[in-house]
Symmetry: C2
Subunit: 123 residues, 2 copies
DNA sequence: TTTTTTTGCGAAATCAATTGCAATAAAAGC
DNA sequence: GCTTTTATTGCAATTGATTTCGCAAAAAAA
């Protein structure tokens, strides 16, 4: 039976406090502010458990690699600032799956990544 | 000075014959049909040279990883069939960068990946 | 208390990509 | 054509980054 460890609760808290895709290193760094003994292997183990439990999902950034974010937010897209490397949530979706692919292709899902400069880096 | 080796010409020919994003393994497999001695290290070395020369560009697939395709085709998107794992070219772009991100975000580029079943796998 | 999951730690496994080196071959010069 | 130069190749070994694992100690829940 799954136990509610301070480490696992801290990792979930990290995603509540930073509601955007986070890399493993970010989870570890933010998590250590809550539980300073937190170890990298524990982060990996819990990220996997939380994905299995459907509480997190994986997001793959073209150059930053694997990231994780909370589930339950509905379909949305992401913006990656190439200055600060932060990922941002972009609520909603204006993409029409039916009209973007030729006839015969069955579109089941899509990912949209925007790249550029975020408001806090633009000044 | 750069030499026109049979290996490098074969790799370029692979991309001409298969005008879609190809993974390193695909380039090696198709390339060996043209030059059977073709080696993986040679593929890696030449993919890098061809990217440097602006003849190929990298495309990162969320789960298949790094792929390469020819440059000069203009901005477009990709469809990945989850049955045969083939990548397809989708000419054109119906995405409006200005209206998809909130004010303050400077959008410089975007990637769109569609996932589903391609016409030859659908039957 | 007792049981058993979970952790921290270092070592180890993975996988993609790179490198050293002797052999090969492109292309320049004769 | 033939020789010389040196970029390039094939091969195996190696790197580097990420992820996993073994195990004793710690701690959650019964
Ligand atoms: Mn998100
Ligand atoms: Mn393409
Ligand atoms: Zn969408
Ligand atoms: Zn587009």
């Amino acid at each position: 039976m799954r136990r509610n460890t301070t480490q696992r609760m801290a990792i979930e808290e990290v995603f509540r406090q930073n509601d955007r895709p986070l890399g493993v290193d970010e989870v570890l760094a933010y998590g250590r502010k809550l539980v300073e003994s937190l170890n990298q292997a524990t982060v990996y183990r819990n990220l996997k458990l939380l994905v299995d439990d459907g509480r997190l999902k994986r997001v793959t950034h073209p150059s930053l690699g694997t990231m994780y974010e909370r589930t339950g937010k509905g379909h949305h897209h992401h913006f990656y600032c190439r200055a600060c490397n932060h990922a941002y949530e972009l609520p909603g979706c204006a993409l029409n799956e039916d009209e973007i692919a030729p006839d015969g292709f069955v579109v089941e899902d899509h990912d949209v990544f925007l790249f550029g400069i975020c408001p806090s880096c633009v000044r």
